[in-house]
């Protein structure tokens, strides 16, 4: 239908882009992960598995990875807890205000990530908005210090940032449910709550899985929130990678950790998509 030249013209630039800025860097990372650093601090191109061995045997790495997964799991859970009811309300009960509410959910995404993270810093800090308020109403007489520079602060901030990402796919899947299925359920004697559990929830599973994958994957790889709000106890795996590529100057180990995470995330996305297909009926 389209000329050969036209097809070449539109397909080649994105392919080149992906190759130069994605595949080549990944390939380099892959190579680096099997190299090592000499005593003198130069990178030695000798192929070995030492980096992966270190990753598995040194507790600091896999403990941080586990903690990161635990933080990501909590972020996923809380953004589901907020995102699902919000999406359900908008899709089924917002009536004519649907579009307005939808925009209100989307608007925070336009605000810079950094601004939102800093906002939590001013809210949660020892002289922050929350502590000042709590002391003012005499709920406490000294500032609560677990609020900031803790895993709590990281989970809270990431939940705030990623809830719209869980909301969107859930909302899309709820909007796709034919309304006559809901009517059919009521018609067959099911009250609204029964209809929700037996018809609406099962049909929204693909959106739930997509949303959960977004929240988990995005927060697992996050390094800004733990950097700004996490403190020593809130360090996540990406912070280690950043330091390995920076001050610590151990690119090979950093590459090995990055690739391990990449494998983990790809496996997760793969299984999530398999499940989504299994639960998809449209």
């Amino acid at each position: 239908m389209f000329s050969r030249a036209y097809r070449t013209a539109i397909t080649v630039p994105p392919l080149v882009w992906v190759a130069v800025f994605l595949l080549v860097p990944y390939l380099l990372m892959f190579c680096y992960s099997f190299w090592s650093v000499s005593e003198a601090g130069t990178i030695v191109h000798s192929w070995n598995l030492d980096n992966y061995h270190e990753l598995l045997t040194k507790p600091v790495y896999w403990e941080t990875l586990l903690r990161s997964m635990w933080i990501a799991a909590r972020v996923t859970f809380f953004s589901m807890l907020l995102g699902y009811p919000l999406a359900y309300f908008l899709s089924f009960h917002a009536g004519g205000k649907k579009d307005l509410y939808y925009q209100l959910v989307i608007i925070p995404l336009w605000v810079s990530y950094l601004v939102r993270a800093y906002a939590w810093k001013t809210i949660l800090g020892t002289d922050g908005v929350l502590n000042t308020l709590l002391q003012y109403v005499h709920l406490t007489n000294h500032p609560l210090d677990f609020l900031l520079y803790s895993p709590f602060a990281v989970v809270l901030t990431l939940t705030h940032i990623y809830t719209p990402f869980t909301f969107l796919p859930i909302y899309a899947s709820l909007e796709h449910i034919p309304r006559n299925l809901v009517e059919a359920s009521h018609d067959l004697g099911a009250a609204p709550a029964q209809t929700f559990w037996r018809v609406i929830l099962p049909l929204s599973i693909p959106g739930v899985l997509a949303g959960a994958t977004f929240a988990f994957v995005l927060s697992l790889g996050d390094f800004l929130s733990p950097l700004l709000l996490g403190g020593p106890s809130g360090i996540m795996i990406s912070n280690i990678v950043v330091s390995l590529f920076g001050a610590a100057y151990n690119w090979p180990l950093g590459a090995a950790i990055s690739l391990s995470m990449l494998a983990l995330v790809l496996a997760l996305i793969f299984f999530s998509e398999r499940l989504e297909k299994k639960w998809s009926f449209h």
Binding site: E183, A184, H186, L188, G189, A191, P202, F281
Partner: protein
């Protein structure tokens, strides 16, 4: 939640004993748009009633009010002496077969059919038996474990029917359930559906825009036009004695004759026939099959009597072959164009002689086709 503190039924508003469903002055407005106005209808136990109307006539809205998906703006609906329209849909002993079937895609055929019984918390053994019976009744037992997406439209239709009937509702509502099927399957299912309704004895309210379907299946037809009931009668009566020009034209074909009546004789162009109506203008409906080629050649108009035969001469303008019958368009001497249905045959050249019985010219009320404010 609907309050059940209804006043005791006043004897004046008590529905008659044979009536299952009583629709009383129901109206529905969507904003300024009036979809239904003052609909009153009594539906008997075990009846097959068809609500017939063009798209936009309000027939689906009326059905949705009965199912509980819409609230009427005014009026009441009663079933077996109890107020129905204040109950939510899940507390009505009414089930619906949806136009697009609305089968649950994540459940098997069996689970779909058993849904209502499972919700009603029937014992599993009873659910299994009743689901199996319902599937057998619609000849779909072989597909019990299939997902709805794996079966054809006609099969989904049967499952939708089984899913509704298995609950033994007092009233079954069917919203154009056959409209998505092709013509042959449609005719077959019309017959099956009618037979099934007789067998189970449940009251059916069937919505369609297809007048042929309505005539084949119904005990009574309620013809809806622009949100108002035009006529409610048996298929034969509504066809043979249409009350209005709209009914006469919507149900089958007809010739509408604008006649002038003087001293017991109606005149329309060259046609004249006796009538008992008073002097003045009147509209008559004359079905194409009531006009036939004249048997004996005689041009004299008989003396005006009720069972008189009216003869007239006409030129053949057009002849369309319809299989068993031909549809003729003829122009009578006065320039009046008439449609005539006759047995198929070749007609001779030249002017032809036709006749009809005066009793077949049915006076109808003229329907104004202007948009009602």
């Amino acid at each position: 939640m609907a309050t059940t503190s209804e006043p005791a039924v006043a004897s004046s508003s008590q529905p008659n004993v044979a009536s299952l469903l009583s629709i009383r002055s129901v109206a529905k407005h969507f904003g300024k748009n009036i979809v239904l106005r003052d609909i009153s209808l009594e539906i008997a136990e075990g009846e097959f009633l068809t609500i017939l109307g063009e798209s936009g006539s309000g027939k689906t809205t009326l059905l949705r009010i009965l199912a509980g998906f819409e609230q009427s703006t005014s009026g009441e609906v009663w079933m077996s002496g109890e107020r129905l329209d204040t109950e939510p849909p899940y507390r009505r002993r009414v089930n619906t077969v949806f136009q697009s079937y609305a089968l649950f895609p994540h459940m098997t055929v069996e689970q779909n059919v058993g849904y209502g019984l499972a919700i009603a918390k029937r014992p599993p053994a009873e659910i299994d038996t009743r689901v199996a019976e319902a599937l057998a009744k619609v000849k779909m037992s072989a597909y019990a474990k299939s997902k709805p997406s794996k079966i054809s439209g006609g099969q989904q239709q049967r499952i939708a029917l089984a899913r509704a009937l298995v609950n033994r509702p007092r009233l079954l509502l069917l919203d154009e359930p056959l409209s998505a099927l092709d013509a042959n399957l449609r005719r077959q299912l019309q017959v099956e559906l009618k037979a099934l309704q007789r067998e189970v004895g449940i009251t059916f309210i069937f919505v369609t825009h297809d007048q042929e379907e309505a005539m084949v299946m119904s005990d009574r037809i309620a013809l809806l036009r622009s949100g108002e009931l035009e006529q409610v009668a048996s298929p034969r009566e509504i066809y043979n004695r249409p009350a209005t020009s709209y009914t006469a034209q919507f149900i089958g074909h007809t010739n509408l004759l604008q006649a002038d009546i003087r001293h017991g004789t109606a005149t329309c162009g060259a046609l004249q026939w006796p009538t008992s109506l008073p002097d003045g203008a009147a509209l008559f409906s004359l079905r194409p099959e009531c006009i036939r080629p004249a048997i004996t050649a005689s041009a004299t108009t008989a003396s005006p009597a009720r069972d008189a035969t009216v003869r007239f001469r006409a030129q053949l303008r057009d002849q369309a072959f319809h299989g068993a019958t031909d549809l003729l368009r003829v122009e009578s001497d006065g320039g009046l164009i008439l449609t005539i249905r006759t047995a198929s045959r070749d007609l001779p050249e030249g002017p032809l002689e036709f006749e009809f019985s005066a009793a077949d010219a049915i006076p109808v009320r003229a329907t104004s086709f202007e948009e009602k404010a």
